[in-house]
Symmetry: C2
């Protein structure tokens, strides 16, 4: 048996569930000025409708979506998908501090800890942030149609294990 009594069943995602849903929803938003229905989108994603609606609302408040009520209404992007980065989406959903400063829980956010993996963690956070900032919704959309994997040159340097 590998799992201890106190919890720890599933592998943990780096982001909260609503953040992942937000990304999946935004990728499927029309690029033209058309409005899309929350209910419609929820069905495609296999998500509970009213729950997705909440997330779309949050994205409206963050300025990434705009909404229209009534018939012919729905949600649409405020900008073209190539001008919305994953970083913006994550910031909107997770807040300005997406992850803990110390992997081991040594220090609160903003504080300083001195464990030896701290500098490595800082570097990883920086790399991840950069990748998120360099990837747009358009890139995600393109990847869905053509399943190729363009390797990131920045990261290729460190790749050989």
């Amino acid at each position: 048996m590998n799992h201890p009594q106190p919890g720890c069943p599933h592998p943990r995602s780096l982001f909260h569930a609503p953040t992942r849903y937000a990304l999946q929803a935004l990728v499927r938003m029309p690029g033209d000025g058309t409005y899309r229905l929350a209910r419609n989108l929820a069905a495609e994603l296999g998500l509970p409708g009213p729950f997705l609606a909440k997330i779309l609302q949050a994205l409206c408040h963050a300025g990434l979506l705009e909404s229209l009520r009534g018939p012919t209404g729905g949600f649409r992007l405020t900008r073209a998908p190539e001008h919305i980065t994953l970083r913006e989406v994550v910031l909107a959903m997770e807040g300005p501090e997406p992850f803990e400063d110390c992997l081991l829980g040594h220090a609160a956010v903003g504080e300083d800890c001195h464990c030896p993996i701290r500098p490595a963690w800082d570097v990883l956070q920086t790399l991840l942030t950069r990748v998120l900032a360099q990837t747009s919704l358009r890139d995600l959309q393109a990847a869905q149609s053509a399943p190729n994997r363009p390797e990131d040159p920045d990261l290729a340097v460190a790749a050989p294990v």
Copy 2:
């Protein structure tokens, strides 16, 4: 307001709470053959005693600790701290798949997804795993006494932002 209605308050740690507690506890285990009390250790960490006891039990099952009951009893390391890596601890507490394969939730564990940040995420996972495998409990202990930060040469390559 940045936080959406459906959840998302705190910055999320990459590991579950019990995993972080396990690391904090192991670092404070005596290196000689002495047994240490769970209650005692819990007090030092500011953790609920019986909860920490569960975690120590799990570490016993994983073979990282051994226990002795009765008076003069407690817990001790099965190996010298320089021969226990953080990776072993994380595997023991989180299971063989510490994090999701796809950051955006596109694919289940083991499956394949094609989003453009996938290769970057794979690289980051590899780097993190390597750092955890290269860092021992002894390193953590040393860092606590002498708060210096020896930069990891592997990661320094990718550092300049």
